[in-house]
Symmetry: C2
Subunit: 336 residues, 2 copies
Amino acid sequence: MPVGTLGTVKGMLPETLEQVGAQIILANTYHLYLRPGHDLVREIGGLHRFMNWDRPILTDSGGFQVFSLGDLRKITEEGVHFQSHLDGSRHFLTPELSIDIQQALGADILMAFDECIPYPSSKAYVADSSDMSARWAQRSKQAHDREDGSALFGIVQGGMFPDLREKSAADLLEIGFDGYALGGLSVGEGAEVMYEVMDYTLPLLPDDQPRYVMGVGTPENLVEGVGRGVDMFDCVMPTRNARNGLLFTTFGKIGIKQARYLRDDGPIDPECSCYVCSNYCRAYLRHLYRSNEVLASVLNTHHNLHYYLNLMQEMRTAIEAGRFSDFRGEFYRKRQ
Amino acid sequence: MPVGTLGTVKGMLPETLEQVGAQIILANTYHLYLRPGHDLVREIGGLHRFMNWDRPILTDSGGFQVFSLGDLRKITEEGVHFQSHLDGSRHFLTPELSIDIQQALGADILMAFDECIPYPSSKAYVADSSDMSARWAQRSKQAHDREDGSALFGIVQGGMFPDLREKSAADLLEIGFDGYALGGLSVGEGAEVMYEVMDYTLPLLPDDQPRYVMGVGTPENLVEGVGRGVDMFDCVMPTRNARNGLLFTTFGKIGIKQARYLRDDGPIDPECSCYVCSNYCRAYLRHLYRSNEVLASVLNTHHNLHYYLNLMQEMRTAIEAGRFSDFRGEFYRKRQ
């Protein structure tokens, strides 16, 4: 899922998102709650209408951003007190408010409110926090109005402790959700630890419901995640990197500002079929980037999202053809 | 003509430029000479290929930008010494080099090299400068290689002095060009003075060749110019204003950041048929602008260029139907 923090996937028209194959995007509850405000979005007719996007939207719970605020927030059983990063105004986010905001936005998939646990944390802290997140998940489910046809996903916590992941998964399964996410990953634990958590947590979740790893990741992370049974990801990596001139290719990442691309009349990725690779050369994209042109962000983001969504499509095709393992081998060979 | 200073009309894909009806764009010789350099663009196959634009390109001569450099430039009969605004490097721009750069870029319409005279200037200065520009126009014509099918336009100078405009026009007509521009306008002289210059200069130019007023202007300037026989304009006004949140409408300009648009679910311009007005409300555009989103520039520029190009199209239609005067009356009535 491309990330559309403030009701826009930065630099992309909705039509272009469809063109690169985005089936769903993620929007950030915390950011939209503060600006422009969920009541305004509700009044206009919901986020789909506000941003002119017809396909599904998944909203996060706001928890991740709030917990990233550090000294600006305080956690209680009831919810989280925090100060806006924009103007310092004081707010109190509860599972009920989080669900209300997500419903005001008109999300198709809502996420239960949870604490995203910092890494590393003591086992005692992780155990207590995960239990509280389970109670918040219960309250999220109660607050969720199913009449609009939207889905609600639970988020498995438990840090890097197998028994706590197991307990968290069991708690959520007992409540019952439309899909399950792995939270608390990509927080500095390193890829190997993340893969281990996937290895022992994913089998605990029903394989006939979506399994979603939040905030992940690199192309390699996607391939490893899918190989382990993950169905959904979200990450700012393709879009944020694009704006910094880092472009993904079949053969690895390139930094378009480098002098080596000054006179390079080839496409970003010779194996890519996207609009950008079909029409623009590296020399032009380098020129746009160095000139700080708006079109640099637009074209780089287009290419990177095409790369990510095409990678997911290729994996779906490989799985259906029963040759995922070959695909994975080839993926790594081309990057060497 | 939308202005594509550095080989991109800021924030617009070439396909979007076609969608809003751009038949031709302007590119800046001075800027492209410095970055990425005309030799690089020539090597890649010209500006059309570099920027993925199939329709005509008009290049200015570089004179306007060089003369704007103030202390960083020195004028001689041979040409102009100047220092780059980017890195202070020293350059010497002559009529011959200007034409060579424009040909390297692959322009369809080239402009003769001239001095854009500051306003106000003494009559003696304007007379001498205009005579020198005529000599430079002659050298520009000699340097121009017509074999590529490109056109070369001369630029009438003469400041705000009727007799000097007449002299300049006569000099250029004697040399003979494919079209004629009025230069040295929109330099602080005010709209009334500009219209006067148009009134006494345009009749001096052949009406079966394009007449082009450079660097103009507001929607009102366009209507007044067309009413006086102008065929072509270029201006950064629609694009630069868009990036500053100033949007053109049938009923005048609006500043999209204003609080009055916070909950406004209507389009920028209720009479506009563009993609932006068909799909986005003012509240969303205000949100994007205040959030400093890339899409704010993209959508605002799209609308403003549609406004400008649609205005030109409406004037063409009105002229063909013999009702330009009615059109002009209606144009002003709606803005009251």
